[in-house]
């Protein structure tokens, strides 16, 4: 018996589009379940020799075991082989965007269903649409390390920073941007129809008065509540916290920034110029704690970026370009030249900064 190859190893060119061939016997659900179970165990990257031996016995015990295994291998092979024509990074990014699009498509399907029901169509082949999280319905989204600039119909300019999502909701009565995740820079245009412009964040409503500002939403963690940071560079912005929408709004003028939560608007502080450097594609730090620096840098990369406690309080100053996929890797490398630290990397998705 030829030695079967294992999931997670290079299996060589597999059938590029697995599909059933006519006349093949069906395989029982029970055997498929066992095969899936083995596949999952052997794809872990931590399988033991004893497991591999047991697997070989299972694989050889019945021809259907081997057939089910081959089918699963060809699915895995299909993914691995895809890298020969499209890079994993592009595949990831495409699938993530497709999820956004399919959220919208499901919304469209609801409408089609409604229309179809009234004309008496038979539509039994389609399952009912699944309700989606709001964040999936976002119309514009950026992945880690991406930035994106948009100009809307009314001349309003938006820039999305890394890992951000917004919904653009313009109607005859108003212009509304919903900040679902991350950070946006808004430079409002003047609307010929005179419609009011608002930015809705999970913590409250922002009403700009002819202006340019940055809003950044933070989900909160480790006891910190979710918050929005508003930094105004031109004009002024009124804040209506979500818990008190009818109260007199707090006014934030140009040159100021504030943090607010659903029920509390913090005191205004003077604008941190470095907080908007991303708009020009730059990452800036001035005597920043390394732990804060890395937490901020982590927003711009996929994967895990950690640090050892003993380097957390080192200080770093500098400015780096954010352009390009390896931008954050270059920034990390430069830390090794400036500070007594070393970057240990296990994969391109896992990096940790430790003392040298």
């Amino acid at each position: 018996m030829p030695v079967p190859s294992y999931a997670g190893e290079d299996v060589g060119p597999a059938n590029s589009s697995p599909g059933r061939s006519a006349g093949e016997r069906p395989i029982s659900d029970h055997i498929v379940e066992q095969a899936v179970d083995w596949y999952v165990r052997l794809a872990s990257g931590t399988q033991t020799a004893a497991q591999c031996d047991r697997f070989k016995r299972w694989h050889g015990a019945h021809p259907d075991h081997a057939r089910a295994w081959d089918r699963l291998q060809s699915i895995g092979g299909q993914l691995k082989n895809s890298a020969s024509c499209v890079t994993p990074a592009v595949t990831h990014a495409t699938m993530a965007r497709l999820e956004v699009a399919s959220g919208r498509r499901r919304a469209l399907k609801v409408l089609m269903w409604a229309g179809a029901a009234s004309t008496g169509l038979y539509l039994a082949h389609d399952h009912l649409p699944v309700p989606r999280l709001a964040v999936v319905l976002a119309q514009v989204r950026t992945g880690a390390g991406e930035r994106r600039r948009l100009v809307l119909d009314d001349g309003t300019e938006l820039q999305l920073n890394t890992a951000s999502a917004i919904d653009v909701d313009f109607s005859a009565r108003r212009r509304r941007i919903v900040l679902l995740d991350g950070e946006i820079m808004v430079s409002t245009g003047s609307d010929s129809a005179g419609r009011p412009f608002v930015v809705d964040t999970p913590e409250g409503l922002l009403e700009p008065v002819g202006t340019r500002f940055i809003a950044r939403h933070d989900d909160g963690a480790q006891g910190r509540p979710a918050s929005t940071r508003l930094a105004v560079t031109e004009g002024a912005v009124r804040i209506r916290p979500a818990a008190f929408p009818a109260d007199e709004p707090a006014l934030v003028a140009a040159g100021q920034q504030v943090h607010f939560t659903r029920d509390h608007v913090g005191p205004p502080a003077s604008l941190d110029e470095h907080g908007q450097a991303w708009v020009d594609g730059t990452f800036v730090a001035e005597r920043m704690r390394l732990a804060d620096f890395l937490a901020e840098l982590g927003r711009y990369r996929r994967g895990h970026l950690g640090w050892a406690p003993e380097v957390a309080d080192l200080r770093i100053t500098g400015a780096w370009p954010l352009e390009g996929a390896e931008a954050t890797d270059r920034i990390l490398d430069s830390l090794e030249r400036r500070l007594p630290v070393r970057i240990s990397r296990y994969t391109r998705l896992w990096a940790k900064v430790v003392a040298r």
């Binding site: 931590t46 895809s82 595949t91 495409t94 169509l121 991406e146 296990y346």
Partner: protein
């Protein structure tokens, strides 16, 4: 029962114009609508003959499926173009590469369609990026046990997507 060819000819003659209009309202342009109308009748030819009490409802049901795949293909292409534009070194694939890439992505999308985002991410990190479960667990901030469960769900899902009819 009238013979099959003449009944399809009658179906085409009576409803082709209506179907094109119906499709045009859905896809928004005449040339896609004409292509989809053509494809709809090709499908009708390939099916078992049925006695049609409501021929337009029948045609619209088939056309509806084609419209959905049409949107799906468009959404995929758009997602891919956006993904390309976000890459550090934008590539300009030739038309042949382009169709190969889109076909590849379409197969992957079909495999993972319907899986929750996290399960899909686990599956792709394992099978596309070749990460081990401990690495995925670290990357996504979940336990190895959760990674394993997600992998089992994803593999069973993909198996069904490809071999559903062969069960």
């Amino acid at each position: 029962m009238p013979d099959r060819a003449s009944s399809i000819e009658a179906l085409y003659g009576d409803h082709h114009g209506w179907l094109k209009g119906w499709l045009r309202r859905r896809v928004g342009n005449a040339s896609d609508a004409a292509d989809l109308a053509h494809d709809t009748f090709v499908r009708v030819l390939g099916r078992q003959p049925v006695a049609l009490r409501e021929p337009r409802a029948y045609l619209a049901t088939i056309a509806n499926g084609l419209v959905v795949s049409h949107w799906r293909r468009q959404a995929l292409e758009q997602a891919w173009l956006d993904a390309l534009a976000s890459q550090p070194e934008p590539m300009a694939p030739s038309p042949e590469e382009r169709s190969l890439i889109l076909e590849t992505l379409e197969e992957i999308a079909r495999l993972i369609e319907g899986l929750p985002a996290r399960v899909r991410e686990v599956f792709l990190l394992s099978q596309l990026d070749g990460l081990t479960y401990p690495q995925i667990s670290e990357e996504m901030g979940v336990t190895v046990n959760v990674v394993q469960k997600a992998m089992a769900r994803a593999m069973a899902h993909c198996y069904k997507a490809v071999y559903r009819d062969a069960f």
